[in-house]
Amino acid sequence: MDRTEKILTELGQHARTAPPSSIDVTPSVMRRLPDVSVSPTWEKAPLVIAMISVAIAASVTLMFLPSWQIMNEPWICYF
């Protein structure tokens, strides 16, 4: 244990002996609660699956777009 570590350990030991804080925030917390509303629970899994599916569909479309164009408009290869 080096010097800095020893001092930190000793200071920590003494600092922990401090009496617990006496505090009462109950009224102020309860006053703030009516202003805040609990946000609705969103299940993340379906959203993630949907986003991945959309991303895959978009990339497939991008990859196949030239071949679809050739199928639908074969004359495009002359340009």
Partner: protein, 197 residues
Amino acid sequence: MNLADSQHNDDDDASERRIIQAVLAGDQNQYRVIVQRHQQAIATQMRRFSRDPLLIEELVQEVFVEAFLSLHTFRQRSPLLHWLRRIAVRIGYRFWTKQSRQKNDNVDLSSVEEYLATNEPSADWAEEKLGNVLAHLKPRDRLVLTLLYWDECSIAEAADLTGWSQTLVKVQAHRARQRLKKMLESKEHGSHRKNTN
């Protein structure tokens, strides 16, 4: 812990679960019990982040409001207090990142060392000095050393409270100690040079 204690804890946990269910069902008034039960512990935790009683009160309020907002995400796998402490650490860390670091205060490591060797320091003195020493560091370094030395957390507990991996806690703690050592030594050399001139 004896059997009576563990029975008492089980009862506490069960009653807490009922309260949480009631709050989630819309009975906000039940939240009062949770605040009253854990506010002292959270205030003690927040004293690591500030020594100003007004700021501590504000931070404790913030913890309970944030806990209320995310109560639906509490999975009840660990005790509620542990979950609240995690929120407290996050809020305290956020508070530090908004604050600027102390650049020029006069913590002299050798005087602290001397005092510790010859006196029995009061908790208040130790809190002030420890806070001042750690205030030299960046919030990340400060947080890891606060948890390890002030809260006497194990690596696993610190990792759980911060949401970091255990390896990251170890690395961060090592680097933080090195940085603190360098910083305090350079300060000492600086003051020593001033004294000799």
